[in-house]
């Protein structure tokens, strides 16, 4: 295996050709975007006049009820879909899907390096680049382990690393911790904050867990039921690490729940 920390600069791989209306600095701007899908039972409007902004290196959490168009929003930001109306102006974004979607035939190391392989980097180079990161993420002993033998928390860390190694300024995280048990989820919240401290990225974190949003994000955007649009924005200026039981966290959580229409 390669020497630890040998090619750490791989992470800063050049962001390839800018998308239309590129926010090259890592910012994200979604302005009054609407999106309707044709389904068998007629058109379904996922988003109606949704707006969202994220400054470079800002962590924005998007919370909303199930089916409010959160995943559609992420796909618009990632350029996987185009809006029917409105504007999406975003730096290149890499997705972290809801289920970890690790490839069962690859080791943890090769899964972590998938984004590099996708760009045509050789297997050896991808391993050399990913190995020090696996070490840093506390998975150094699991390089050759296949996903089926990793715990849920470890799988999510590999999945996050895979997205991080795509080298994009924006990370689009789609309910990344929803499938984890409560204790592991809390650990992951602390861990994510820690990672972003040393590897700042613009993060759009979609979640239905209001508490998760308040603990992880700089700002929380609350969405309405479908068709989704932003109904409230809550700045979270509390210092990190944040604790669930902190009265200020509880207060913001109640505020967000109120905006969602949930009575305290």
């Amino acid at each position: 295996m390669p020497a630890k920390g040998a090619t750490t600069e791989m992470i800063e791989a050049p962001v390839q050709e800018p998308r239309e209306l590129n926010g090259g600095d890592g910012s994200v701007r979604v302005e009054l975007v609407s999106r309707t899908f044709a389904t068998r039972r007629g058109p379904v409007q996922a988003l109606a006049g949704m707006s969202l902004r994220a400054a470079p290196h800002e962590v924005v959490a998007v919370v909303g009820p199930s089916g409010c168009g959160k995943t559609t929003l992420l796909e618009l930001i990632c350029g996987l879909q185009q809006p029917d109306s409105g504007r999406v102006q975003a730096a290149a974004a890499a997705l972290m899907p809801q289920r970890d979607l690790l490839l069962p035939w690859l080791s943890a190391l090769d899964n972590a390096g998938l984004a590099l392989r996708a760009r045509g980097v050789s297997r050896e180079e991808a391993r050399t680049a990913a190995a020090p990161w696996l070490e840093r993420f506390g998975l150094g002993r699991f390089e050759t382990t296949r996903p089926a033998e990793l715990s849920g928390g470890m799988r999510q860390r590999v999945s996050f690393l895979r997205t991080l190694l795509a080298g994009k300024p924006v990370l689009a995280l789609d309910e990344p911790f929803a499938a984890l048990d409560a204790i592991t989820r809390q650990e992951m919240h602390g861990w994510l904050g820690h990672v972003l401290e040393s590897e700042p990225r613009t993060v759009i974190l979609v979640t239905h867990d209001v508490e998760e949003a308040v603990i992880v994000a700089d700002r929380v955007v609350v969405m309405s039921p479908r068709p989704g649009r932003a109904v409230a924005e809550i700045d979270v200026t509390l210092p990190r690490p944040r604790r669930r039981t902190d009265p200020a966290v509880v207060e913001l959580r109640e505020k967000a729940l109120g905006a969602l229409g949930v009575e305290p």
């Binding site: 390839q16 796909e75 990632c78 350029g79 996987l80 974004a93 890499a94 997705l95 899907p97 809801q98 289920r99 979607l101 490839l103 069962p104 035939w105 998938l114 984004a115 392989r117 996708a118 760009r119 045509g120 296949r146 089926a148 033998e149 795509a166 994009k168 689009a172």
Partner: protein, 256 residues
């Protein structure tokens, strides 16, 4: 150890069936045994005709192995084309299905006319009867690719080809193995039929020659060899799959 224990029911059933067969033939007298030889006669033929059976087995085994290779190549290429292009799917799939409805008896003389009496027409017949399962299961394997993985690869700027290589092809590999395993049994039948049309060697030829010569025991001995060969090939493929795609087994064992 547990494997040996698991094999007991199959062994008992086999012994019981052979016993019933032996009794049935013995009760019907010597003339009947010219039509259906008793197991002890088959065993005797396996021993006395071993030289003849072995040399002809080698001919058929070669045909079957090469035929399966050809079928796998054709089947996988077709499945990939079907996977990539809905137009190809609509154009090719009905013909692939129709090809299975053509009786080999009709086809074989034409193949002999085109390809002569050597190895090639046999390979063509074997591939024709066995490529179908490979196309179907490989196509099903491609259909199991998670659409979210394709989206993920797109946000990683993967080209269509790299997405295919890193995500789609490995997902479909268990499907390829399933198709080839099904093809093994069919291909043996295909080889016998192919040898019935223009050949002078192979176990199919032995069967064809034995029956009119009232050497039914030799014919059934050839069938026994073909069956054992099919079982051996199938087991070998299952083993190869376990070694090549351990991850595909791991999940199943976890659930068990």
């Amino acid at each position: 150890m547990s494997r040996v224990r698991q094999a007991w029911p199959a062994a008992l059933l086999l012994v019981a069936l052979i016993g019933i067969w032996e009794l049935y033939v013995d009760l019907h007298g010597d003339t009947f045994s010219l039509i259906l030889p008793a197991p002890h006669q088959v065993a005797k033929a396996l021993y006395t005709d071993r030289g003849l059976l072995w040399s002809n087995f080698l001919v058929t085994a070669k045909e079957v192995l090469l035929g399966i290779l050809l079928a796998t190549a054709v089947g996988v290429v077709l499945a990939v084309a079907i996977h990539f292009s809905p137009t190809v799917r609509r154009a090719v799939y009905p013909l692939v299905v129709a090809s299975q409805a053509v009786p080999v008896v009709v086809f074989a003389p034409v193949l002999a006319f085109w390809l002569g009496f050597g190895l090639l027409p046999k390979l063509a017949v074997i591939a024709l009867v066995s490529f179908f399962s490979i196309v179907v299961t490989t196509t099903a394997g491609f259909a199991m690719v998670d659409p979210d993985l394709i989206k993920l690869m797109r946000t990683f700027d993967a080209s269509r080809l790299r997405t295919f290589r890193h995500v789609e092809l490995p997902t479909a590999l268990p499907g390829v193995f399933t198709g080839v395993k099904i093809a093994v049994a069919v291909s043996v039948i295909g080889a016998v039929f192919a040898e019935w049309n223009g050949s002078n060697s192979g176990l199919g030829y032995v069967i064809l020659q034995s029956l009119p010569q009232l050497l039914a025991a030799r014919g059934v001995a050839a069938v026994v060899i073909l069956s054992v060969f099919a079982i051996a090939l199938f087991s070998l493929l299952a083993l190869a799959e376990r070694i090549a795609l351990p991850w595909a087994y791991h999940d199943r064992e976890e659930r068990a």
